[in-house]
Symmetry: C2
Subunit: 453 residues, 2 copies
């Protein structure tokens, strides 16, 4: 840790000494995690100074490594000229994501200073939906006409090797005169081909996807086939880009991570603690304020049974336990449903199947937990009825909780509502209400056996 | 959905008709998500019948696609001979993972029937730690001696193309006579090289990692460099494998997904609902039973203040709200810490920095939530002191909750305890205890102002 603290100090020093050439060298060879750490730990002023003064290809690389929320903050805070210079150097998919993350005003300012050609292709790129083949593809690929011979294709690569030095060339995409995809030539096959073979003849038939194809489908493709990328075509079946495995896997990892954050009440993307306190507080509150209202709603059940509760005040100890434990059981079911939806062992329509499978587990776990709580209540107050009230409520409520937790994510998904965001609050509100109602109404019904505890 | 239901029925039919050749064809060309879905939805008997009768290369591919927990269940239920045949066809990293997931007895039975050579290399593979370069690498790579010319290297590829047809060849790894890695030749450079160039001379210097390198470090490497794989070396710096980008990204996505499941109380890996009910119940209970004890511990605070509570029974409505809302605030802080640890903007040693940043947000959010609850209490009971007791307790407890939620994951990580597993229970137990104590002791102190509500 020492070494890194020193590193940040020395980077700060280099920035204030305006040693940007040296800084460029340092950042070029720094590991990605270290870049992330250092950019985060610089002051805002240092960060802006550094990114606007570094050679734009180094700045572009840093932008691709740090969290999106920080990258877009930097881009909106530096001049449109500096921003445009950096964005031009970024890979096509990354720059589209970044532009999409900006305010419209900032984005337009950048478009103003971009060259016509660059502006046009960027506007095209951001017209594709995020998390589709079009939104995830890169446009840096090499296509050659199917009539070329292997020798001509190799010559073409040799002649243009300067142009392609930034591409990671692993395939040649073979097109006909209408730019329709004919197939793919792997470099190994180009090596093994006879010089006079036409590339169209050594090409392997290639699967391609329309630009509207969702992430999930691309993911399935790459799980099945050991390819590095898959061609993306437009409405006229012309080759327009390549969706790379790495970008698909990264987009999916990002989706899972964002889903997890949402489940835990961090909404609207990453929160990095170096962001302004007020912004962080506001974003967290947007979630908490909904929850506090739902909590008040749920707890109002207790208010209705105030008389019952004052006769059996010991039950007040068990109400939070019933609420918490039902929440735990329900959350387990939510997590399993989200995971099964994600890996594909369940589909949104299978509500009944999931419900049955959850009830089975809920009955067992409800019985065990209910008995435990009943025992605790009985031992504490030496009144078996008191134990039965608390334990019985928890037992039944566990079954309710897993039923809701298991099925709600499927139902939300079916109606295209974000299950990560909505499942938790729906679950806790309903299970709290049911739990409080069960415990208190059982107590009211058994009141004659509960007096004097 | 219709189409898929039909599909499962027709697959079942083909299995009972023993049409395994046809089934092999079907599964070879089925998308990965569909494979996952269908295997999950077959009965256990059908699954075993199918996997033991399919051509082993098709079965191996299915094994690589379905969840690990299902794959290892299948492998332990079919004969060791069938299992060995399938495992032999799997990629080196996948087969090692699978063997590691088996009981020792099942694993030894499979080793028995494997060939000597295959057994030796598999035992070597499973000796590497999971989530290290050795545990993640594949051993299917091509290395050639640095003294070979480009022409000889091409001839070597041509002569051995049969041998390599299962490899995804993207590089040649160049070694010296001691098998030390000299560098890497990209296929594009082999194409562009003059026939008499020695491959040692056209090789690019290559970064390599010792087999003990952790996943995190490899991930940083691939975030930085657009390579497909990185060579892995042993203690004598001999080339022993290649850690592929795809496998590193997948291992990380898996880590994130498992972390999320653990946070939500699903421990010990994936739960697939087609697993036996008793097993699912037992695994969920292992987590719930710890939580119920912690819950009883926390709620016992209420029991101590039973007299106070019976004088101000209305406070019983607010205790679950304070408990739930503190949990929400604390969980947000846990999620941000886990995410920052994962992307690298925070390090486990920065407890103080995180604590300060959490307290800032906690003060704002505690104030807002506390005022809201105070207002609700005041309006309900027309007693401002009652509102102050409930709101004040929630306000202070919010600061406590984010302090614990933000710092506990760092501390656990620092002492090498799994933060995903332990953060939640630690958080809720402490915040519940503090919340109940604050509300009830405030009420006790203000009792003279609270009578008669």
């Amino acid at each position: 840790m020492e070494a890194v603290a020193n590193n940040i100090d020395s980077i700060s020093k280099l920035i204030s000494d305006r040693e940007f050439e040296k800084l460029g060298e340092i950042f070029m060879h720094m590991g990605a995690r270290e870049v992330v750490y250092i950019i985060d730990h610089l002051t805002k002023e240092e960060r802006l100074e550094l990114l606007s003064q570094l050679p734009s290809e180094v700045a572009a690389e840093i932008m691709e490594e740090i969290p999106m929320v920080q990258a877009s903050e930097i881009i909106s805070d530096i001049t449109a000229e500096d921003a445009a210079a950096i964005i031009t150097e970024m890979q096509s998919d990354d720059k589209a994501d970044l532009i999409l993350d900006l305010d419209d005003i900032d984005a337009e300012a950048i478009f103003e200073v971009l060259g016509d050609q660059e502006e046009k292709s960027l506007r095209k790129l951001i017209s594709y939906e995020p998390d589709t083949a079009g939104g995830l593809m890169i446009t840096e690929f090499i296509s050659v006409d199917s009539k070329l011979t292997a020798r001509q294709a190799k010559d073409y690569l040799r002649t243009n090797s300067d142009l392609f030095h930034n591409y990671s060339i692993r395939h040649l995409y073979i097109i006909n005169k209408n730019k329709n995809l004919v197939g793919v030539v792997q470099l190994i096959d180009l090596i093994l081909a006879k010089p006079d073979d036409q590339v169209g003849n050594i090409a392997l038939p290639a699967k391609s996807y329309h630009y509207n194809t969702p992430l999930e489908k691309l993911l399935g493709f790459f799980e099945k086939y050991d390819f590095i990328g898959v061609p993306v075509i437009d409405d006229e079946e012309r080759l327009i880009g390549v969706a790379m495995r790495r970008d698909i896997l990264e987009a999916d990892a990002e989706r899972v991570a964002m889903e997890h954050l949402e489940t835990q009440g961090i909404v609207g993307g990453d929160e990095i603690r170096s962001m302004p306190t007020l912004l962080r507080a506001k974003r967290r509150l947007s979630w908490l304020s909904v929850n506090v209202l739902l909590n008040i709603l749920a707890a109002s059940i207790i208010a209705f049974y105030q008389d019952t509760l004052s006769s059996v005040i010991a039950l007040a100890v068990f109400l939070p336990i019933i609420s918490d434990m039902s929440g735990c059981s329900g959350n387990q079911a939510v997590a399993v449903s989200m995971r099964e939806l994600s890996i594909g062992t369940v589909r949104p329509s299978e509500v009944l199947r999931v419900w049955i499978q959850e009830v089975r587990v809920g009955l067992i776990n409800g019985l065990v937990l209910g008995l435990l709580i009943a025992l605790a209540g009985w031992l504490w107050k030496s009144n078996i009825y008191f134990g039965l009230v608390a334990g019985g409520a928890l037992m039944i409520n566990t079954v309710i909780a897993v039923s809701i937790g298991g099925t709600v994510p499927l139902l939300l998904k079916k109606y295209d509502i974000d299950p990560a965001l909505a499942s938790g609050p729906i679950l806790t509100t309903i299970t709290d209400m049911c739990g409080f109602f069960l415990a208190l109404s059982f107590a009211a019904a058994m009141m004659s056996h509960l007096s004097g505890i």
